[in-house]
Subunit: 203 residues, 8 copies
Amino acid sequence: ERVGYPEVIYCEHKTTPQVAAIFKALAVKGHNVLATRISKEAAEAVLNDFPSARYNPLGRTVALYQGIQKETPHKIAIVSAGTSDLNVVEEAYETVLCFGNRVDKIVDVGVAGIHRLFNKLELIREARVIIVVAGMEGALASVLGGLVDKPVIAVPTSVGYGASFNGLSALLTMLNSCASGITVVNIDNGFGAAYAASQINQL
Amino acid sequence: ERVGYPEVIYCEHKTTPQVAAIFKALAVKGHNVLATRISKEAAEAVLNDFPSARYNPLGRTVALYQGIQKETPHKIAIVSAGTSDLNVVEEAYETVLCFGNRVDKIVDVGVAGIHRLFNKLELIREARVIIVVAGMEGALASVLGGLVDKPVIAVPTSVGYGASFNGLSALLTMLNSCASGITVVNIDNGFGAAYAASQINQL
Amino acid sequence: ERVGYPEVIYCEHKTTPQVAAIFKALAVKGHNVLATRISKEAAEAVLNDFPSARYNPLGRTVALYQGIQKETPHKIAIVSAGTSDLNVVEEAYETVLCFGNRVDKIVDVGVAGIHRLFNKLELIREARVIIVVAGMEGALASVLGGLVDKPVIAVPTSVGYGASFNGLSALLTMLNSCASGITVVNIDNGFGAAYAASQINQL
Amino acid sequence: ERVGYPEVIYCEHKTTPQVAAIFKALAVKGHNVLATRISKEAAEAVLNDFPSARYNPLGRTVALYQGIQKETPHKIAIVSAGTSDLNVVEEAYETVLCFGNRVDKIVDVGVAGIHRLFNKLELIREARVIIVVAGMEGALASVLGGLVDKPVIAVPTSVGYGASFNGLSALLTMLNSCASGITVVNIDNGFGAAYAASQINQL
Amino acid sequence: ERVGYPEVIYCEHKTTPQVAAIFKALAVKGHNVLATRISKEAAEAVLNDFPSARYNPLGRTVALYQGIQKETPHKIAIVSAGTSDLNVVEEAYETVLCFGNRVDKIVDVGVAGIHRLFNKLELIREARVIIVVAGMEGALASVLGGLVDKPVIAVPTSVGYGASFNGLSALLTMLNSCASGITVVNIDNGFGAAYAASQINQL
Amino acid sequence: ERVGYPEVIYCEHKTTPQVAAIFKALAVKGHNVLATRISKEAAEAVLNDFPSARYNPLGRTVALYQGIQKETPHKIAIVSAGTSDLNVVEEAYETVLCFGNRVDKIVDVGVAGIHRLFNKLELIREARVIIVVAGMEGALASVLGGLVDKPVIAVPTSVGYGASFNGLSALLTMLNSCASGITVVNIDNGFGAAYAASQINQL
Amino acid sequence: ERVGYPEVIYCEHKTTPQVAAIFKALAVKGHNVLATRISKEAAEAVLNDFPSARYNPLGRTVALYQGIQKETPHKIAIVSAGTSDLNVVEEAYETVLCFGNRVDKIVDVGVAGIHRLFNKLELIREARVIIVVAGMEGALASVLGGLVDKPVIAVPTSVGYGASFNGLSALLTMLNSCASGITVVNIDNGFGAAYAASQINQL
Amino acid sequence: ERVGYPEVIYCEHKTTPQVAAIFKALAVKGHNVLATRISKEAAEAVLNDFPSARYNPLGRTVALYQGIQKETPHKIAIVSAGTSDLNVVEEAYETVLCFGNRVDKIVDVGVAGIHRLFNKLELIREARVIIVVAGMEGALASVLGGLVDKPVIAVPTSVGYGASFNGLSALLTMLNSCASGITVVNIDNGFGAAYAASQINQL
Ligand SMILES: Nc1ncnc2c1ncn2[C@@H]1O[C@H](COP(=O)(O)O)[C@@H](O)[C@H]1O
Ligand SMILES: Nc1ncnc2c1ncn2[C@@H]1O[C@H](COP(=O)(O)O)[C@@H](O)[C@H]1O
Ligand SMILES: Nc1ncnc2c1ncn2[C@@H]1O[C@H](COP(=O)(O)O)[C@@H](O)[C@H]1O
Ligand SMILES: Nc1ncnc2c1ncn2[C@@H]1O[C@H](COP(=O)(O)O)[C@@H](O)[C@H]1O
Ligand SMILES: [Mg+2]
Ligand SMILES: [Mg+2]
Ligand SMILES: [Mg+2]
Ligand SMILES: [Mg+2]
Ligand SMILES: [Mg+2]
Ligand SMILES: [Mg+2]
Ligand SMILES: [Mg+2]
Ligand SMILES: [Mg+2]
């Protein structure tokens, strides 16, 4: 049994029947259930069983809410540079929601046009924890880290080509950030960042 | 002006006169001052000017406290595997103290003798945030992450030889941890982990 | 002529007709035959010729037993973290069986929920040699290595994403393990671990 | 005979007598001469022969100016994040000067405190070409690239520790920059960036 | 809004409807529009809307010219080694054209038959900026850099196999070039090289 | 308390006083004690306290034997290619002795002169477990693995230059060995190989 | 105009019509023509035009011989470890033949069963140059290099999995070989090894 | 006993007394003896015993010639880019001489000033085998390979900084060379290149 409250299924190496069976087993116990990295096929199987579940095809998640959920007083902000990172953003988004957090999504604020970031700074500063999602060179984490005084969790993404080496470049950028207070999760790990952010938000 | 309260000097590429001058300039303004990665020579120069400052040779820090410091209600735990990681532990320790946090140090609880970790689990669980410091294969972060329900910040260290590749092995271990809620900072970055932990502890 | 008793065919770069022909040639001499890394198509061709052979689709093996096999007095334990590593577990399992060893499979005992490992420790300690199969951060090998006093052979798997770098992270973890007595084979090499374990078990 | 006007000596693998001899041979022909990566010892030998030469110990250069030098109408800006990158800044500075360019140095404008960069933006925008020098995560190049409409030449530095991998992190950041118009030179290659900037500035 | 004049769409992670919609939105404002990394399907959708747009399937670009374009007085030269690098050459070519530059393409002048390069040297020297596109070992950049006195922007390509490591070999070659004045962009980044060349050409 | 019988001290990151104190504390309890990676200075301090201890400067070990030790019926063979690998050979040698095993050392049997290996094959085959120590390309492990039917534990060494990358080449060779039954430990980890060999030898 | 006598077409990044057209253009001039890395489709197009050409599907080559070819007095030996390396062996084989060399192929002599190599040693020693093709750990090159006194050209192949890293392991092994006289070409470059061997054989 | 005629001692990991003893043992048997990678101290010890031996401090070799040596009819050419590669050039030079070959050294013909190479092309073409020594980007091997029709053996050197990664860049360049007939040895392995060249020269 996992720590935390909703039950989470990581679907990457599971077959559609396996996913559907595990989902049902957890749901019938009354848990909220979140399936991540779910294939379209498996999502359809789950939705067949639970028509009220919410499928997010971009985030590759299915979430089933059962019973009333109390919202956190504080918010999490999810900030990202551009359209290419949206599937990681959505995975993080569904996860923070499913763990009962209020959340703001601020996308398309990449460092190449930094004024867009400044326009959203007030909104971002309302959050108690900030998740930054960025691929290519990942500089957004450093810039944002210097602008806010809250914990920043950085998610490098595998978006890019050539010397991005499938996310390695963004990962190293974030680990070497000269702004203090930034911690990092695995490449494309929107779920992990959201889980940690939720833990912090609910302290 | 930096975010955060005490002023921090990162001494790595600075000469002794530079360090001493920056330290003095910050101290005379009444700030608490923390110097990290300080050489023995520079530490002595600073202590000459400020005999009441505390030098931690293992952690390579000098800290000057001015005025009364209010302690946080919550504690941070710093957990590590063995004697080899102590300089990173001490850098983190001095930093969390300097930012006004209560703290417990739990060292020598490596996974090769896991019962020692279990003996300290109750103490660790009292903390609001946990810093795990580990070199070589860095497995302690995963194990501990599964045992606690608080944010865990993992610091890989460059301790090891051969295929540890100066901390790369521990870094990858921590990034790939199958326990949820673990975030990671740069190799040997005890300061960064402590800064993030302090931010979380004081939310 | 190879060392060891059953004849083994490594099917990776062989065509279906090649696999079928080699299998038949070895089988008619009366050997037990084990085909590893076999495709579904090649497996079906072999089963057509030898309907009594056993096909393990998860482990991608076909095994043909001819004549009575004497079982070893001692057991090998195969321990793994989760469902994602099962194809490597099954390759190892079929191999140790085919070489005439008694064996216990203990799966789903990952370090993120360490009590599950403790529940199985007595069973694992009955074995004379232990094979640990783990992907992602591979910490299970270190933890188990500290809990048992028998030779531990660790198999990193390519399961994971991002900074797991196709098994590199787990491989480095295992090579740097701070628990003594752990030796390592190539990523995903369930066969190799099983072969070595069998040699040791039959000393 | 080399392209370009002043003669340049790269001293890295040369002995003091070799450096002194080459310097003298070029100087007596009436050329301006620039020695880069010069050791303290070799610099002293050269200054002994040419007391009017200028030694920059931080930049590890010695420059000898002979005859009147016409200044370019346009300026080059050299921008950097912090004190640690100064030796690369100084190598670039001495080189652009020696090739007859007007130049502004703007240091200590790292992305962790981005307002400092904004304070200097007007000055930076006066330049025709911009050299950005940055270590650790190297995000300054991306940010600046989005703020100016001039060619930006980025120099990653080997400053940092752990996952900076001696400048690899900054190099990858700069190559993957999502701001257009940024080109990159080798780690710590202040000379190369300055040479290219000078070529552009004098078109 | 981007710096520079034509509007550019990077299509890599966008769906066909997304590309078509963004293209239309920019075009109706009267901008010239350049789509890069466009799929055949998306190109056809755009051409359906704008039959006068030019599709370059090798360069994976679609360009729409609206209004009269003033040509630069100076030329850019795009130089490459062989047929395998042509898609990067064409991406660069369409980009420099779209930004209003005169341009010469000189392909098939690889260093293995260096006389072909010498035959074209006069033409290349007419350019104000030179883009060199090369895969495998990328030596063309160094050789050409020594033969011309103009800024050289080098684009490593992912062409090759084995130890070319998808362009890493050519990238390192270009970064380490012993000819002065060479700057480098990301692997396969024909657009970026062209953008920087255009900025320089129009100073 | 460690598994296994003699107490082992890994001295790498310990000061001379720390080593001396730990050694004494273990020795007075009557244990056999083995110190590995010991500096000359620390060794002298230990020998001062325990003049009967044996210092192996090549292997960087100090061993103290107390009480009578029962020898194993079976032997371990330590096989190596040349004089450069001797410090790893000696570390393994002292370790297997200290754990009470009979042992044969067979050095200077590199694959470049394979007849020397054949001359020693009979002796090697007497062993129950074989440790192979090899640097540079590490081919000895593969060759020997094909010639014997016993467990082979391979230790890559950091001996070599250039593309040996401090032992990486030998490590990869051993992990990819096409001879079955070979398991591998960390680069230069003579102790680990010996510990595992001893466990197997005493089954 | 190329060095060497037959004309060679490297088909990797060429379309079928391009390959067919280049082949025809070279053939009508009376040259022998060798196409390497040819697809099945392109091979069929060429064979349609030149029915007497020889297609080697394993080696992915098409060779057209026109006029009488004088054979070299000396032989080249191509030696390989196993069935998996055969496509590289065949590429080398077709190339040495096409350049007019006598040749012996000796396959399936891997180091895991070294007696098979010894059985063929006399034949191998008849050659003036030896090409060794090996994947996985590539140890065959070292062993053979120590047994013969002729130039040995080693071709690492991308055969393997896990820590073979697509041929990197074999490449490093061969570069670090402790047997003298071994030179190395790119991973899977059977053509390059054959070209160099032919040059040497015809001195 | 080694293949080839003079006896060679690789001194890297040997003590001065070991080197002196081995040298003497081989010399008294009447062999020519070549010591490579010899320290200044060990060289002096050898010269004390054999005052007629020749010490090359740049190449770190000592050579002792005994008896009359027959020179080869053909020559080897050693070609290099600049002064920084000279120690590898000298190691190769002493080796080819010691194995009885005629030799021409052509240094300072780097690709950044390619006319210098053309001035020496006639001389280089007189050789039967060509050794190319180059660091940084190593492009010289490709250029020369396209200009000559003889076997070319390329030696990458560790000269350079930053992204040269201690010779990796030059190594990859040479392995990926698009000129046919180039084979490669380990980084800085002047001896190995010379040994192979000598074998070829004496066929
Ligand atoms: N050990 C450390 N590693 C990384 N960053 C640090 C460290 N110690 C301090 N810092 C950061 O460096 C800043 C001070 O840098 P500086 O102004 O160069 O002295 C502090 O505000 C911290 O953000
Ligand atoms: N999964 C595997 N990974 C690596 N080696 C294997 C594997 N399965 C079998 N082998 C080895 O491959 C040999 C058979 O190779 P082959 O003769 O090519 O079929 C066996 O004797 C084993 O040594
Ligand atoms: N810091 C530097 N990094 C790289 N190349 C340099 C540097 N300084 C000078 N150079 C180059 O080295 C050449 C001189 O090399 P050398 O003839 O060996 O003294 C100059 O013309 C420059 O092209
Ligand atoms: N398999 C191969 N790998 C690398 N280079 C090759 C290969 N086959 C042919 N070549 C080279 O490619 C040249 C022909 O290239 P191309 O003109 O593009 O067809 C030949 O002259 C060879 O130098
Ligand atoms: Mg902050
Ligand atoms: Mg937890
Ligand atoms: Mg154990
Ligand atoms: Mg810009
Ligand atoms: Mg130039
Ligand atoms: Mg064996
Ligand atoms: Mg030989
Ligand atoms: Mg040639």
